[in-house]
Every structure is written in structure tokens, then in C-alpha cells.
Amino acid sequence: MMLPGSNRRIHAVHRHSGMAIAGLAADGRQIVTRAKSEATSYEKVYGEPIPVKELAERVASYVHLCTLYWWLRPFGCGVILGGYDCNGPELYMVEPSGVSYRYFGAAIGKGRQAAKTEIEKLKLSELTCRQGVIEVAKIIYGVHDEAKDKAFELEMSWVCEESNYQHQKVPDDLLEEAKAAAKAALEDMDDD
């Protein structure tokens, strides 16, 4: 009954970076708002786009703040932050405890254990961004349990040379290609 595209999980933080949320959507909005404000205020003061490492640290310390006082509750969501700065592309994950690490592959949410296993099988250093999009779609479809989980909608964004180093939604034709490849891979698995 829900309109497709209305439950956005991926948000742009700055021209060069974006964030995917898993967990309570309202809590996620708060984190995204904070990240956006940190990014713009950094650029106002220092004159350059915020390095992704610095952005991750600021988001993490904000999330951590809410674990320090009895009158605040921790955030009910985890966040994967990706961006492209002068040091190249970087990926960070921030958990509700405030812990933040840099990753080459990360997963949060219900199917994260299975997803992590699938990611580990990939040779990340050899993939192009385009190939990565297809692989990620396959993993998302792969860990989705038809019996237990509700129907879902795939949402993808990227930052790479093809996107002119800006964070943007994956172009529709590539998204469809990824979905088709993922569904085909599922059928292959079922055939075994």
C-alpha cells in the first residue's frame, strides 16, 4: 500500500558524501541532520569539503554523547557513511554505542551476519564501482528471507568517478540491471 520511494533509507550529507540508516528512521533523521550541519559548518570555517574521516568522527561523538547522560537515550539506529575526499573513497560505520571504524565492506541490520559473509567472498580491490553495485544488489536479495521478512524495495547510491565524485542515486538503468542480475542469481541458487 505504500508508495514506492517513500521510505528513503539513504540520505545525502554533502556533495561528496552520503549515509545509509538501519533502525529507527526518526533517530536516523536526527543523525543525518547533524551530519549535514557538521559538513557545512566545517566547509564554512576551513574552506574545503569535510574529510570523510573527520565527518565520521563528529557523527560518532554525537551518537556517543547520547550514551553519557541518564536523561538521554541512545540512538536506535546504526549508520553507514560513505564519501570521496582528497584521500580517495572511504567507508565508515557508526553504531549506536558511538563506536566508529573505517571499513572496506560493512553491513548493518537484520541480515548483517549473512551479508558480511557474502561481502568477505568478494575481491574488493579488483571491483569497479559498477561491478560493486551489481554485487551489492545480489547480496541484498540473497539475504532477504522470503518467508520471514516483508517485501522490500532496493535503494542504492554511489560516489565514484562515474558520478563525478558526487554522492548520487545509482542511475535507473544500472539499478534495473543490478536488480535483474540479483534475481537471476537467486534463481540459480534455488536451482541447486
Binding site: V45, Y46, G47, E48, P51, K53, E54, E57, C86
Partner: protein, 237 residues
Amino acid sequence: MEGLRNAPHSMGTTIIGVTYDGGVVLGADSRTSTGMYVANRASDKITQLTDNVYVCRSGSAADSQIVSDYVRYFLEQHTIQLGEPTTVKVAANLVRLLSYQNKNMLQTGLIVGGWDKHEGGQIYSIPLGGTILKEPFTIGGSGSSYLYGFFDQAWKEGMSKEEAEKLVVKAVSLAIARDGASGGVVRTVIINADGVTRNVYTGDTLPLWHEELEAHNSLLDILSSGSSAESPVPMST
């Protein structure tokens, strides 16, 4: 006559920043004046902000020192936070913010120059109102008025380190010859991937432009070289 010696310290100054193939050269004279009195004839107007970024100061000595001190402090914290050297652009932007936001109270023109691994050598000019301009070369201070034509003719893209330093030294010495508020020695700072090199060119190494007297250490030398009699003895009271 009292006012001529009690004016606030100002650096009449000639300052220059020039990029070359691989880095930057910053140059300045060394005269700090209070009115007509030269308060410091050997001052250092090229101040360090970080390992790889320096700033040339002109205008009010106090104002430019305070701005440099604040920016050095902010940059130190920023470097620690970032975990890697700050870029020249960031340093220049901080200088610009202070200059612009306090424009009513400050009177200082600055040239920020340095080298970082992302953009190489860069020069940023931050004149009185707090504008920021990235330029291949720039001049500032009261002595710079006499150098605009000179640079239009003598500047070229992609000079070597030696050519760039020679150009800067020649330019500062020309300005010193014409500008009463500039004088003393010529100081240069060269910043590139290999690090920072400081040089001083004293009056005797600079070319003479307009039949000025040759540099001497002391008047006593002239007297003793001229006459065969014994050198003059200081008066005793």
C-alpha cells in the same frame, strides 16, 4: 616632533609571494617603523603558521602578529584532529575569516604561501578587507606600488627555484630603493616538497640601483682606509 616617534609600530614593508615549478618563494624586507623612526631594521616579517605554510605580514605589526598567532593556534589543533598536515587552502581560509570578521579593527595585509601534497605550491593574497585570492604570484605592502610594472614584465610561468628566488630578491631590493618605509635586509623563505629553506640577503649582496653609497660596516672603516694616520680614538669625557 614627538608624534614622529610615538606612532604605532607599522611595517611599511614590501612583501612578495611567488609560485614556481615545485613550490613557492616568499620574500620581504625587514624594516619596522614607528613614524619616522626605524624601530627594528632587521625584523622577520615571514612568520611560520605550520611546518609547510608561512605568512608574510604587512600593515600594523601588532594586528598581523595577533592574526598569525591565532591562526597558528587553530591550525595546530586542526592538524592534530585531522592526523595529517593541513593544506595551504585551509590556512589561508582561517586567515581570511579573521581578517574579514574583524575588518573594522584590523589593518593588515597578508600573503599566505606554502606547499601541500594535494595541490603543490600555492600563494593566497589576503589584503585589507579580508578578500581571499589565489594567485600565481602576488605583492603587498607600501613598497609593492613600485613593483606592479616590474612584475608585469619580469614574471613568467614555470620558473625554477633559483630563478624565482632571484626575481623575488631583485624585486624587494628595487622596492627598498624607492620606498622610504621599506629597508634593511631581504629575507626569503622557499617552501617545497623537500621542506623549508630560509635565506637572508644583506645590503652588501644586493645590487645598487641609483648611485647609492656602497655598503660599509662602519664610518670608521672609511676614515681608517682613507688616512694613513692612526684610526680615530673615541672621545673621553
